[in-house]
């Protein structure tokens, strides 16, 4: 457990818990097992740069990944858009610090003997409070030209993608696959039903109605007996429900003249 404080002025500290990262299933490339430190209870004002600075005394830090919950790291290959993918505020988080050498991990575990580490110092102040909010207000103001450029490029990609898909679908129309099955799509000469839950339910309803028309309900003797028995059971159930309802109404009654 490592003690960490925000700055000199604070009297009490938070505990960062560190552990060597071990994963049971498979290996993920983002967090190689022998070189990664798993850090728990990272305070919200401690960002990736602060963490890398704190651990840089143990060894060279290759990357720092902060997430909400511990889980396998994913390589983000698409560039997240500055405007459209919002970062929500995070509370206490979990971090994976990847060092270049495995020895650094052991050094990090031994750090707890020294005094509490400081997150914000004179040379690298961390902004919180009013200055942070003013900065984030400034960052939230959007430059129209940038936005327009991004939207235009995205829509061009999107249109291209849609056109490609249509072309592919048109090519595959009516072509049987290796077992001889032809896929029914919306484009061909005989479009099938849309594959949605609502359409499914409609078809099932129709089937039920057809079957109900063909059924005979009064034919067998056991059918007579069954209908009578069910009728009585239903009456009984309704009576019980009504009794409960009346008991509830009686309990809620506010006018009690006696």
């Amino acid at each position: 457990a490592l003690a960490v404080k925000f700055s000199e002025r604070q009297r009490s500290h938070h505990c960062l818990l560190v552990k060597e990262h071990q994963v049971r299933e498979g290996a993920d490339t983002a967090h190689p097992p022998r070189r990664t430190l798993f850090v728990l209870n990272v305070p919200p004002y401690c960002g990736p740069d602060s963490l890398s600075r704190l651990f840089s005394r143990c060894g060279h830090v290759q990357s720092v990944d902060i997430c909400d919950k511990p889980g396998p790291g994913e390589k983000k290959d698409k560039l997240a858009s500055k405007f459209f993918d919002h970062k929500t505020l995070k509370g206490f988080q979990v971090a994976y610090v990847v060092f270049r050498k495995p020895a650094a991990v052991q050094a990090a575990k031994a750090l707890s003997q020294e005094g509490p580490l400081l997150i914000s110092t004179e040379s690298h102040p961390v902004k919180t409070g009013i200055s942070k909010w003013i900065a984030s207000y400034e960052a939230s103001i959007v430059d129209p030209k940038e936005l327009k450029a991004e939207v235009d490029s995205y829509m061009q990609d999107y249109d291209k993608k849609v056109a490609e898909e249509e072309a592919k679908a048109a090519m595959e129309e009516g072509v049987p696959d290796e077992e001889g099955w032809v896929k029914v799509t919306r484009k061909g000469r005989k479009p099938g039903l849309p594959r949605t839950e609502a359409a499914n339910l409609r078809v099932l309803e129709k089937e039920k109605q057809k079957r109900a028309r063909k059924e005979l309900l009064n034919f067998y003797a056991w059918q007579h007996r069954e209908t009578k028995r069910e009728h009585i059971a239903q009456l009984r159930k309704k009576f019980e429900e009504d009794k409960q309802r009346i008991a509830l109404m009686r309990a809620q009654r506010k006018f009690r003249p006696y």
């Binding site: 004002y45 405007f83 509370g91 919180t128 409070g129 009013i130 909010w133 400034e138 006018f255």
Partner: protein, 759 residues
């Protein structure tokens, strides 16, 4: 009075949607809540002078010297004549004759205590400033002049006639509501010889909490009317905007100010450049100076004409909407010279000193957000959080806003009553726990189903009835049905009640049904929770009791604003804020004597200036950070959402000064996993969003219990050993210091009431 009440009772009995028996025979109707304005006559002995002045000596003899009984009917008829068109009913309280022992003298006539008179108004005429009399040459003109004394004058009217008329001085709506007071004082002095000091009028004592600006500024109704005018003008400009790829078909307002229920409506403002930091054509708040005034963006939703060319992908729709915002900003700037600032999800327009926030809505977007492809390849529609929010904002909220706008036109005091109610709720630090639309609907219920009363014609009586509703309604067993625009029939109502009873445990704690929203009570789905509802009920009953005592006793001089100050000794930690950084300080209940310049010029607007700082409220940002930092991974509450009902059965322990309430585990917990998830949050934060100076924090007691060491529960805690086992406990000192760190510059001090809790 008996005739009036009988007529009203017949109406109530005929109405099938109201339970007539309950309303007529079992609901008490104290004078304070029945009549729109009441006033007390303190010195009953002055009625002796009345008898002399009005020459009632023969009646006096008839009653054996009981001047009270002799004078009362004449006074009532005098007032009724003076308030002829304004008041439906003028009534008085029955004098209570105290008992006396057989061998003592009977009490004097003046010992019956103060007399209370009540007035019920006709909404259309109650606030008119002109009292028109007969024409000058008619014989009735002399009668009119003797009745009104020196106040009546000869005036020439637009249709050429010269009539006697009485004109009252009143400019703002709240002053107009007090015209009856002026009438009564004048008449009683003139004809009944009762001096002004004997009359204690309690019609409008509570309105000072919703007053903006200086005393003569009125209570903000005029400001809201001007906001609505500006909004109408903007929507007309939007309709006629040319060169858009799809024209604008509908413009709907969503902000409470556009339905007349915003507590402090925006006033036109213009920024002062020297107060802010400038950075490349941007005005930014400066760190050294106090925080700039809060400019609230008035949200408006625009619907475009239908077209089949919208993409079917969520990301693409967002970008198309952003492109529309850019285009709208550009065109408004070119064609109407309005200053605009586009952003990803909205466009801000600065017009007439107000800032409007336009959002483009596509009606099929919620549907596309709900699409989910099951593993079998089938397309299913499932409600997600995002789609729900979007639907609420673009479909339901505009409809609610327009219905309530219509309600305001019918009942002119609806807006003010709603504003008083909201002000009270946020003064009790509960503004984040109950949504504004919910309060609006509750107040609308008072106007649509006022049985056994008549619809309120003054904000004060509306507010008292609101408190009564909160305190006495049985939320557990009954749905509250608000029949907006009379969309519901009797059979619908019974249907709703049956379904409610059948599904009670899955539904939210407070259930509000409207014609468009009969089964799901969408406005109360997440808030309030059961604990908050209990607290609201308690607070409402206490406040009502206190207010009633104060208002019915004419000799009391307690501050009526007492119910607007929350009891603070019940919270665990208090965070005191720096007043310079609270932008809405002037809206607080006890307005500070000195106010700080906040970098804007009020009541003025200009064109072609830099865009002011919009929607920058440091306290709200701070609260968001606080809530997130003490939150944990929240599990889902259950399939349909809604707080567990069992908490309604918890016991409450009340003490004299404030209220303490503890949660006790009730019977029949829904599921232990859900309970644990919700109680992982460390604390609840309470704040009065209209200029409060204190944030109150309540620790959640369950989260203080030591829990076994688990990766998922290790947030803001420290590890200690307890009985040779590793457990984690919240690291309270560090958390308190975190409060200070996160609010650097805003927090003045953190006061921890350590005598109330131990770890």
């Amino acid at each position: 009075q008996v005739q009036f009440e009988a007529k009203r009772s017949m109406e109530i009995l005929d109405d099938r949607m109201v339970d007539g028996f309950q309303a007529l025979l079992m609901t008490p109707k104290p004078m304070l809540r029945t009549f729109d304005h009441i006033f007390h006559l303190k010195h009953v002995s002055k009625l002796q002078g009345t008898c002399k002045k009005m020459q009632l000596l023969s009646e006096l003899m008839d009653r054996g010297g009981n001047y009270v009984a002799a004078a009362l009917p004449f006074i009532v008829s005098l007032l009724a004549r003076g308030l002829s068109q304004r008041a439906q009913l003028v009534a008085h309280s029955l004098p209570q004759i105290p008992e006396w022992p057989v061998d003592a003298e009977p009490p004097k006539h003046k010992d019956i205590g103060p007399l209370t008179f009540g007035l019920l108004f006709v909404p259309e005429f109650a606030a008119s400033t002109l009292e028109k009399g007969p024409q000058a040459d008619h014989p009735e003109a002399l009668e009119f002049r003797t009745f009104w004394g020196e106040k009546s004058e000869l005036r020439r009217f637009q249709d050429g006639s010269i009539c006697e008329a009485v004109v009252w001085e009143a400019s703002t709506a709240c002053q107009k509501r007090l015209i009856p007071e002026q009438i009564i004082r004048h008449l009683l002095k003139l004809h009944a010889d009762i001096p002004e000091s004997s009359i204690c009028y309690t019609g409008a004592l509570l309105e000072s909490v919703i007053r903006i600006g200086k005393e003569a500024g009125g209570t903000g109704e005029e400001a809201m009317v001007s906001v609505v005018c500006s909004y109408d003008d903007l929507s007309r400009k939007l309709w006629n905007l040319k060169e858009l790829p799809l024209t604008v078909t509908a413009v709907q307002g969503v902000h409470p100010a556009l339905r007349y229920t915003d507590v402090f409506p925006p006033i036109p403002m213009k920024p002062i450049y020297s107060f802010h930091n400038r950075s490349k054509h941007l005005l930014l708040p400066s760190e050294e100076k106090p925080c700039p005034a809060y400019i609230t963006p008035l949200k408006i939703i625009c619907h475009m004409e239908g077209s089949g060319q919208w993409p079917q992908d969520k990301g693409a729709i967002k970008r198309i909407k952003a492109a529309f915002h850019l285009q709208l900003a550009e065109l408004l700037r070119q064609q109407h010279q309005l200053m605009c600032r586009p952003a990803v999800a909205h466009t801000d327009v600065y017009k007439d000193g107000y800032v409007f926030r336009l959002q483009v809505a596509y009606h099929r977007e919620p549907l596309i957000l709900k699409e989910v492809v099951t593993p079998e390849g089938m397309l299913k529609y499932q409600d997600t959080e995002e789609s729900w929010q979007l639907e609420l904002e673009t479909l339901h909220l505009p409809y609610l806003t327009s219905s309530l706008h219509g309600l305001q036109q019918q009942h002119p005091v609806f807006g003010s009553t709603s504003r008083l109610a909201k002000r009270w709720i946020s003064a009790q630090l509960l503004s984040d726990s109950i949504s504004e639309e919910c309060v609006d609907l509750l107040v609308a219920f008072l106007f649509l189903h006022p049985a056994p009363f008549t619809p309120p014609s003054s904000p004060q009586v509306g507010f008292l009835r609101f408190l009564n509703l909160l305190a006495t309604f049985d939320w557990k067993n009954n749905p509250l049905i608000v029949n907006l625009n009379t969309g519901l029939t009797d059979s619908d109502c019974t249907d709703i009640k049956n379904k409610f009873v059948a599904a009670r445990s899955r539904l939210p704690v407070m259930f509000l049904a409207t014609p468009k929203d009969q089964w799901s009570s969408m406005w109360t789905r997440e808030h309030p929770s059961a604990q908050i509802l209990q607290r609201l009920v308690l607070l409402a009953s206490e406040s009502l009791r206190a207010l009633e005592e104060q208002l019915t006793d004419p000799l009391s001089d307690q501050d009526v604003k007492m119910v607007f100050r929350p009891p603070l000794d019940f919270y665990d930690v208090l965070i005191h804020l720096n007043p310079n950084q609270i932008p809405r300080l002037l809206e607080s209940v006890d307005r500070p004597v000195k106010s700080v310049s906040r970098g804007v010029v009020k009541n003025s607007s200009a064109m072609n200036i830099l865009f002011p700082v919009v929607d920058y409220d440091p306290v709200q940002l701070y609260l968001q950070e606080l809530r997130v930092s003490t939150a944990c991974w929240r599990g889902r509450w259950g399939a349909e959402g809604g707080a567990p009902l069992w908490l309604l059965d918890c016991l409450l322990v009340q003490d004299v000064a404030g209220d303490i309430f503890r949660y006790l585990h009730g019977i029949g917990i829904a599921s232990p996993a859900e309970v644990l998830n919700a109680f992982d949050d460390l604390a609840l934060f309470f704040y009065d969003k209209h200029g409060g100076e204190v944030i109150a924090v309540l620790w959640k007691p369950l989260s203080f219990q030591p829990q076994p060491f688990k990766v998922s529960s290790m947030r803001g805690r420290k590890v200690t050993t307890l009985n040779n086992e590793l457990v984690c406990v919240p690291n309270v000192e560090a958390i308190l210091e975190d409060f200070e760190i996160l609010g650097e510059g805003l927090v003045k001090s953190v006061e921890a009431r350590t005598e109330k809790w131990t770890i």
